[in-house]
């Protein structure tokens, strides 16, 4: 089949026609006669219910055909007598005014008419729609020769095959099987050693061991987390117009973690829909509510926040309907559902659950999921409160002595660079001569006896300095990275780690001269303030008292990094008293607060749901228009589907979540196991995984579906348990090779007489290349990354996005971590049918296009991996043949056939010759290029991107 187009073509011919005919042949074919659910409903639903169904507002002639008593009233349907039924007369009427359906809408074909007639003749028995029936666990059908079967799944599958005279296929070759289960469970390739170990393991549980190991792998959570994230429409940007980046990856990581620990699906549901409403919720439980914060935010100017808030509530309602119930509740946004029991009022009752959150087309409530500096922040907080007390005490005391500055006289001055010092009449020193990129001044001063509590350095301009100084940099600036004092005995005088200056250049605070960081320092921007004098005051940690005159040494270091930034003229003074305290406290407070702000910026916050204290009133919105509110509605579950105890209290999201995963809910367990099945077999047991309503497809194996759903609930909603059952079944293990007899009787392979070959998902295309090349960086979780992407991606976006291409391990992270901008996703993702995550996605397309070919063949990011694969092969010991086989096995996990090997040998020899002739350089280079060419061929094979 060419691609999804064909799938859609089949689809638009009518899923119901397909379902009827196919299932009539497939399931229960031994049972003669017509079943309402299996055969009739889809016909009536497609052709009749729009005007004669549950929607009372658009019901024609008061006739309802979806309820038996209504349909047999007045003889529209006469059970047992189709020829006397008005329905049949209308179907066959020749008169345009009488014929039904009306001439402009589609007519029934002969087979459909025959089914209806036969059903009426049999008594026109109705059945409840299969998906709304409670799940009952059917016994697996007995099979005469069940040697093929490994678990109950196989009994259901084999029974239907046998009923059609078909047999199942043999198990796939072991190398194919292990590759298949690796791709399905973790999305990576097994290494040649892992393949060998499995192929050579003759234990009867060899395969089960592999499965168990994979279910324990943390990469399992990544692969199955990704499937869930499709449904959660997770992305890293806000969508719509500006599409700015957002931080939601903590939610993504929560999903991976929850799936890895096999969190029961009911709990998984409750935490995501209503974790914030649990008693004393943990940060994880709150983070989980990010599920419904993945909705879009429109940041365009002039938007009405309420409009887009309502959009997101609508999306949350529809997504919940699709993900848990596989019901197209969104149809009831504007009018009563035409086919399923969801009225418009029901819709807004569901809507009401989500209509009470604080967010309003903005980031809204967030939870801090990661606070790497929490301890230091707490410490800063303590210091800040201490400061407050200190300040109060100071003010109370008011006993601050005034500063009294005395200029000190320099005795001896040296510089590491041998710069020259001249003492000016004001006892300041003027520097000239050598001007090194890094310099240290060492000045000895005379000091009088008495108390010493503070130093002041005045930096002064001078006409001999560049631009007038005070520094010796070309603009007159300087960067003082360190400053210290010693007493006459060479002991360091302890200074407060905070200093005060009349001015510091931004990011060059004066305190940086007395911190422990040798790279930071005090500077004064002469561009900002001009070439004028400034002062800085340094405080002694403890005042000292000199009994007699003495000497002090000042040592200052200057270093800007690339250019000389030394000081040009300066003067030192001392004071027996500290400068006014409040001054200092303000400086200290600013410094603490700045530090705190820096540390807080490293916090990771994820958007979450939070309930408004006073609930919003919810109105039914006429035609879904938020500007046309109609009557008030209260939150309520779809109790027609599954009743829920009456409550005095207003129902909230927590009630909704619990209702969805109540063991009696007929839809949720069926829906969830069906989606797992879809991933392992390509198509769900119910093909329309997003629609279990009347318009959805009929299950290919309804009893198997129910058995799995019941098993799922019984085993405590464990996804790993069910998946283990699925992948260890004989059905799963079959070869995917096409069989002529199956093709004739079951073209679409819905009976599963073999496995299906499935092109892997977009992310997995690259993940397999990462695996094969050995480049994969296996780290799980964390911020999204930026692997290489081709040039020109932003030629068509409103804003050029920031794409700081990752270097190091982040360049080779699994593709699910690639930063996803909704307006301009990485082109490889969209080429391979990744959704754009604007709305929920339960089923990805699987197309096959030239753009994909260009992507795998030429994308620089993938080509880089082909080069790595080649390098890996070349580094292997052995001759060319051995290396080729090794490379083949790295990429395709099997040994090449003799024909393939011969072909590749010829190819590589050929390429080497060609490269040599085209002058790429040395012989070894030509050889390397030939290996790369071969690796590139392998990575471009259909088989490479196909789960066989």
């Amino acid at each position: 089949m060419s691609d999804r187009a064909t799938f859609f073509r089949l689809f638009s011919w009518g899923a119901m026609a397909f379902g009827v005919v196919f299932c009539a042949q497939a399931e229960d074919s031994v049972v003669a006669g017509i079943h309402y659910n299996r055969d009739v409903r889809a016909i009536l639903s497609e052709h009749c219910f729009a005007c004669h169904g549950p929607d009372h507002e658009h019901r024609e002639a008061g006739l309802r055909l979806d309820v038996r008593e209504n349909a047999i009233r007045g003889g529209v349907i006469r059970p047992g007598d189709s020829s006397d039924s008005e329905l049949v007369r209308r179907l066959e009427a020749m008169d345009d005014d009488l014929v039904m359906p009306p001439p402009h809408s589609g007519q029934l074909d002969q087979q459909e008419k025959a089914i209806l007639k036969k059903w009426i003749d049999q008594g026109a028995e109705y059945q409840k729609h299969w998906a709304f029936e409670p799940v009952a666990k059917p016994a697996p059908p007995p099979i005469a020769d069940d040697s093929w079967c490994r678990n109950p799944i196989d009994q259901f599958i084999l029974k239907q095959l046998q009923d059609r005279g078909l047999q199942a296929s043999k198990q796939a070759e072991r190398s194919v099987l292990i590759k298949r289960v690796y791709i399905d469970l973790i999305g990576l390739l097994p290494t040649p050693a892992q393949v060998d170990a499995f192929v050579d393991d003759d234990s009867p549980t060899a395969y089960e061991s592999v499965v168990d190991e994979l279910l324990r792998s943390e990469h399992y959570g990544e692969r199955w987390g990704r499937h869930w994230l499709d449904q959660a429409r997770y992305a890293d940007s806000n969508g719509y117009t500006f599409d700015n980046a957002r931080v939601m990856w903590p939610y993504r990581d929560w999903v991976i973690g929850a799936i890895n620990e096999d969190m029961p699906f009911d709990e998984f549901t409750v935490q995501q829909l209503a974790g914030d409403l649990l008693p004393e919720p943990t940060i994880d439980q709150i983070t989980a509510t990010g599920f419904h914060r993945n909705t879009l935010i429109n940041e365009e100017g002039g938007t009405d926040a309420e409009q887009f808030r309502v959009e997101s509530v609508i999306d949350r309602t529809n997504t919940t309907g699709t993900v848990w119930l596989a019901l197209t509740v969104g149809c009831a946004q504007c009018h009563n559902h035409k086919f399923d029991p969801v009225s418009q009022r029901d819709y807004y009752s569901l809507f009401a659950f989500f209509n009470n959150t604080v967010d309003r087309n903005n980031r809204g409530p967030e939870v801090t999921t990661l606070d790497p500096h929490a301890d230091e922040i707490a410490d800063l907080d303590r210091q800040l409160s201490a400061l407050k007390i200190e300040e109060k005490q100071r003010v109370d005391a008011e006993a601050v002595e005034p500063e009294k500055w005395t200029v000190l006289t320099p005795i001896e001055s040296t510089a590491a660079s041998k710069a020259i010092f001249e003492t000016l009449p004001d006892q300041s020193l003027l520097v000239s001569g050598p001007n090194a990129i890094e310099d240290t001044y060492d000045i000895l001063y005379r000091a009088e006896k008495g108390k010493l509590a503070a130093f002041q350095i005045n930096v002064l301009p001078h006409e001999t300095l560049p631009k007038g100084g005070p520094g010796r940099a070309s603009n007159g600036n300087f960067v003082m990275v360190d400053l210290q004092f010693e007493d006459a005995d060479g002991n360091r005088i302890q200074l407060e780690p905070l200093a005060i200056a009349d001015y510091s250049q931004s990011r060059h605070d004066v305190s940086f001269a007395v911190d422990s960081d040798p790279k930071s320092g005090w500077a004064i921007s002469t561009n900002q303030k001009g070439n004028v004098s400034h002062w800085a005051k340094f405080l002694l940690a403890k005042p000292i008292v000199f009994e007699r005159p003495t000497q002090l040494r000042l040592r200052m270091r200057f270093n800007q990094g690339t250019h000389p930034y030394n000081l040009g003229r300066f003067q030192l003074s001392s004071s027996p008293t500290r400068p006014a305290g409040a001054d200092l406290i303000a400086v200290r407070r600013n410094a603490l607060q700045a530090r705190k702000k820096t540390l807080e910026a490293a916090r990771i916050k994820s958007m979450v749901m939070r309930e408004l204290e006073k609930p919003r009133a919810t109105h039914l919105l006429t035609r879904g228009d938020f500007l046309r509110p109609a009557e008030l509605v209260e939150s309520a579950v779809l109790s027609d589907l599954h009743p829920w105890p009456e409550s005095e209290q207003r129902l909230n999201r927590l009630d909704l979540a619990r209702w969805l995963v109540d063991s009696g809910n007929p839809l949720t367990p069926r829906v969830v196991v069906n989606r797992m099945w879809q991933k392992f077999f390509g198509v769900g047991l119910v093909e329309t995984v997003e629609d279990f309503g009347m318009q959805g497809a009929v299950p290919s194996h309804s009893r198997l579906l129910d058995w799995l759903a019941a098993e799922f609930v019984e085993c405590g909603w464990s996804r790993k348990r069910i998946q283990r059952l699925m992948v260890t079944s004989a059905t799963y293990r079959q070869t995917s090779d096409v069989r002529v007899d199956l093709q004739q009787k079951d073209l679409l392979n819905r009976l599963l007489g073999r496995q299906n070959r499935l092109r892997v998902d977009a992310e997995i295309v690259r993940d397999l290349a990462l695996s094969a090349s050995g480049k994969l960086s296996p780290m799980v979780g964390g911020p999204s990354v930026y692997p290489p992407q081709p040039a020109g991606v932003y030629a068509f976006t409103q804003k050029k996005k920031s794409w700081p291409t990752s270097q190091g391990p982040d360049r080779f992270r699994r593709t699910m971590y690639t930063f996803f901008y909704r307006s301009s996703p990485h082109p490889m993702l969209t080429a391979f049918d990744a959704p754009r995550f604007n709305v929920t996605c339960t089923r990805r397309g699987r197309s096959n296009t030239p753009l994909q070919s260009l992507m795998v063949a030429n994308d620089p990011g993938l080509f880089e991996l082909a080069e790595a694969l080649a390098a890996r092969a070349v580094s292997q010991k052995g001759d060319m043949k051995v290396r080729l086989q090794y490379m083949f096995r790295l990429a395709l996990c099997r040994t090449p056939s003799p024909e393939e090997l011969v072909f590749l040998e010829e190819f590589i020899v050929d390429q080497r010759r060609e490269f040599k002739m085209s002058n790429v350089g040395s012989e070894s280079k030509a050889s390397l290029f030939a290996w790369i060419a071969t690796a590139r061929v392998l990575m471009n094979l259909d088989e490479f991107i196909t789960r066989e």
Binding site: M1, R4, P790, T830, R836, N838, P850, L851, E914, D942
Partner: protein, 478 residues
Amino acid sequence: MDHDAQRSRLATRRQLFRDCGVGLGSIALTQMINRSSSSAAGTSGSLGVLHHPARAKNVIVLFMAGGPSQLELFSHKPKLNEFHGKQTPKEFIEGKRFSFLGKDAKLLGSARKFTRCGESGIEISELLPFHQKIADKLCFVHGMNTDVFNHGPAKIFMNSGTPQPGRPSMGSWVTYGIGSECENLPGFVVLQSGPRGPRAGAALWSSGFLPSKHQGVPFRSSGDPIVNLTSPMNFRGQRTRDFHDAVAELNRQRLAATGDREIETRIAAYEMAYRMQSSAPELMDIGDENQQTLDRYGAQAGGASYANNCLLARRLVERGVRFVQLYHTDWDHHGGPGQTLGQDLENCCKQVDQASAALIQDLEERGLLDETLVVWTGEFGRTPMGETRNKKVGGRDHFIDAYTLWMAGGGVKPGISYGATDDLGLSVTENPVHVRDLHATILHSLGIDHEKFSVRFQGLNMRLTGVEEAKVVQEILV
């Protein structure tokens, strides 16, 4: 169609592929088969057969992103000038929603001079002198209206019929329905000019729930026109051919081993990729056009401009590409810096006037206009009220109730004006055309009945025109 019939139909096609197929895969074959039957109104798309005879084969949409002011370009309102500076009538403002305008907005006259042009006497502003010369070839629709007034949602609405992202765009619907006649290029191509890309980005040419091969493919004006079109350094020329041959050979061996016909499609996809590697650069290289043609458009070989893109649009439809969309930014003339109705609007007009007109004339001379529907439009129009930015009234806000677009070729009546607005341009007084009607009409021109053209998705029969009533504007069709 029942299952057996489906199967036999598939089987027949398969048979055909088998019988014909060495080296050529199913895509190319499908196209060959369908091309040969296109005389019998067959298509290479999902529809199989057209609903009715088509008037147009191809569509070119000239999308003036930002919302050009109809009042400065096509909609002459002397009364508005008379009432310039007056309060807008209350009854009009009541219940209306705008992006930025306050309730006290005053009417803003237009400083532009309009001239009656050609035999039709259609009025066109002095800002578009080249349009004035081709007035008789254009069909103006003055009663356009849409639903949403923010750029992103409105552009998505104009393209996909809903304001939320996620649905297929018009070009995707069209190529999905009737395929494309070009084997070497994608069927839906998007080009961009102006200072930046259009708001909402890829959502505008997304294939939504349709197969992704129907998504619009952006062609860039510099570097690789298509992402990853060029083979890696040192692996070009004959090495590219070697690569494709080797991939095809090993794929064929796997096909033989597994029997999975999907591999045939993969082989065909690689073949087409190979052809695109030469056909796309060849398309983009307008150096082979004569100087007269380049001058007529105002295009320059090696350049990047709206003029170049118009010329490329012609080259694309010439090669059978079904749907071409040109975005030109930025027409968002609110009045602030860079957004005035003076110099800034004049610049936008200068950038598109000559080339738009040249495209129509060139298509006509080459006999392509009859089969190509050209649509010149924004996502909405602009208000008759002035907007104050920086304390100056120099622009207009977004307006969804009444604006103007033009169409040409493809079975549309030339030299007519359809629909009218009141004297102040505040509302449509005659023949309103909603965006849905426009969609219905475009599909109709291509031989598609918008009501019958649906895809089942999430339980609904999805249509480009949605569930609200949409009508084909028969009055503007020949």
